[in-house]
Amino acid sequence: MSAISSALSGRPYRRRTEAMRVIFSILFLLPALCAAQATIHVGSKRFTESYILGEIVTATVASAGEAQAVHRQGMGNTAIVFAALRAGVIDVYPEYTGTIAFELLRKRAAASLEDLNRELAPLGLGAAVRLGFNNTYALAMREARAAELGIGAVSDLKRVPELRIGLSQEFLNRRDGWPAMARAYGLAASPLGLDHGLAYEASASGQVDLIDVYSTDAKLAKYQLRVLTDDLGFFPKYDAVLLYRLDLPRRAPRTWEALIGLEGRISSRQMIAMNAEAELAGVPFSRVAEGFLSGSAARHLAAPGEGRTFISTLVGADFWRLTGQHLLLVFASLGLSIVAGVPLGIWAARSPRVSGWILGSVGMLQTIPSLALLAFLITLMDTIGTVPAIIALFLYALLPIVRSTSSGLADIAQPLRESAQALGLPGGARLRLIELPLAARSILAGIKTSAVINVGTATIAAFVGAGGYGERIVAGLAVNDNMMLLAGAVPAALMAIAMQLGFDVLDRWLIPAGLRHDARAGA
């Protein structure tokens, strides 16, 4: 996952900053001027707490008045944000000591901040400013279920190997995550990969018994979850700190001083409250951060949703941009798959020897998971965004079109095929005048299927920065915002229905009258 995601979201930022650097060096030849215009980029990972801390850091940087502060929100998972920091795309981001030790430095045991810094220094990085709380991983169960099974600590899990466990991909795969934990506790269960944003709902609805949580998760109280005691002391400390580029204090000393001022300012309680403000009350991250910095944290709860309704989210400012992007993705890929799929279908129908190969290959394309295909295309083309997304959608749309074209042609009755031949029409004319019109119904059905499927599949394009309604779905998943998620899913579903209706109208135009079911009947 992390390799894919880093391929998915790492590059554009680097590209953009590189381009910006070039422009900068051309426009501002004097280093003094350059310094006066300095920008400090703050990164964050794709979950609520990281967004909030990112906003707090950004606001703190801005308050120092030394540099412009830009927050690259929710860039991706640990690997991506860390890669961005090393590449200089961002200068600082909130991280956790345990993650630095196990995930980033590949250490086998917890280490002190000094030890970490010794190893980070060669990379040009440093970790400092303990914010004041420990957000460790923990396993949690519904209170009622835990009581029923008598489970209070992680060791108790050994007694109930049939538990259904749903874990986030990151926890499942990281060194200090499930594999090590299962070894330490001697657990044999095989967990299910589950998006962190969905885990609480899955647990609340009883689809999974056990999920991984962060000890500062906003929803722990809301969903009445029991956090299991880590009785073997497996989980190390995950103290929140700032991970930064070592040149930052030198480049922006006043800013750095302001950041040091954050040391010890945020308690676990405060963090849970801020997470709840953002996640449960829908207060924007920037407002939560503002509230914290002005000393009024957790007093915002009285303003749930900030007057945001589903409708206002649905037709938000980005609605037309997302609709346009979504339509572009769907129709550009559909156009390509018609242009390629119909000839492939004709070829398959004409030549039984290659037919198996063609249908087999386009069928196999369908079995490739969409994220894997996107990751592969990104590596292959060395770009992210609309182009790989359109190509992936194009490949998925091929099968219905190729198959319906080839079967539509193959299903033409032998006497009709021979009548066309016996008339003395050459192959091309037979295809154009007789065979394709006779297969029109089938071909159009295939195109319609592809179009409708494409509307749904196009939502994954948001993972590679191609926009569309998927942007809301991804954002909604990232911050546990169901309203945001629905504001993406609902218009996508409506577009699929509209597509279906549109094609029904198109059928009347494109299917020859003599072949339509509703043509006037009787002589």
Binding site: P415, L416, E418, S419, A420, Q421, A422, L423, G424, L425, P426, A429, L433, I434, P437, L438, A440, P512, A513, G514, L515, A519, R520, A521, G522, A523
Partner: protein, 246 residues
């Protein structure tokens, strides 16, 4: 004139047509007759190039049929099959005009030709605006014959053209076709399994059995000098079957 020289066809080891040498005289109606699977349709399809002979050859109007000239030679052949073979997505009129339009004949030429064929086939012109499925079986066969005759080809091949029709329409069309054949003086090869129909049309009858020609000649010769017992049996069986069928 159509000639087969040792032409034969085998499908996956079963003989559809044994090596056959046969001539169909110009401006004459010949009938291919025999039981199902005797090879009569295969023989007809060899002439129009829908089937390529394994050995031997087929000559149409003095030219041997092969890949490169088959499309041109087909323009000199009208071909009608059992249920007409009309294209369902085109109206009857479009079916008739299809090839002429493809070959770039002028609108005036096409209209002239179609009105003549409407008269010949005695079909109401308004029926040409209908789609094939909106026509009766007999009307479809008339339209199909119009399509076959559109370019005024010297040769007409008909594969059981009346096979799918009810008896009344069938007898009506038998007379109609005989009149048209006589009027146009085409080289006609017609496939049927019905001896009465063969006797009705045929100046020249070819009886096939298991891919082999049993006898070729006039109906009178079939009666007076049957080549094998099978000829007599076939005629007798058909005669017996006719009253029962009606």
């Amino acid at each position: 004139m159509i000639r087969l020289e040792g032409a034969c066809k085998t499908y996956r080891g079963s003989v559809a047509l044994a090596p056959t040498t046969l001539t169909f005289a110009a401006r004459q109606t010949s009938v291919l007759i025999g039981p199902s699977g005797c090879g009569k349709s295969t023989l007809l399809r060899l002439i129009v190039g829908l089937v390529t002979p394994d050995a031997g050859g087929v000559w149409v109007g003095g030219e041997e049929l092969h890949k490169d000239n088959v499309e041109r030679l087909r323009h000199g052949i009208g071909y009608v099959i059992q249920d007409g073979g009309l294209f369902p997505h085109l109206t009857a009129g479009e079916n008739v005009a299809l090839l002429a339009r493809y070959l770039g004949r002028s609108r005036a030429w096409i209209e002239e030709r179609m009105s003549r064929l409407v008269d010949l086939m005695r079909i109401p012109a308004r029926l040409l605006e209908r789609f094939p499925r909106e026509l009766s079986g007999g009307q479809r066969q008339r339209v199909s014959l119009m399509r076959a005759l559109m370019l005024d080809p010297p040769i007409l091949l008909l594969d059981e053209p009346l096979g799918a029709l009810d008896p009344v329409t069938r007898y009506e069309l038998q007379d109609e076709l005989k009149r048209v054949f006589a009027e146009l003086a085409k080289t006609v090869v017609l496939v049927t399994h019905d001896m009465n129909e063969a006797a009705h049309f045929g100046d020249h009858i070819v009886l096939l059995r298991s891919g082999r020609v049993v006898q070729a000649g006039s109906f009178g010769e079939f009666l007076s000098h049957p080549a094998e017992d099978y000829v007599r049996d076939f005629i007798r069986a058909q005669r017996a079957a006719v009253p029962a069928a009606n």
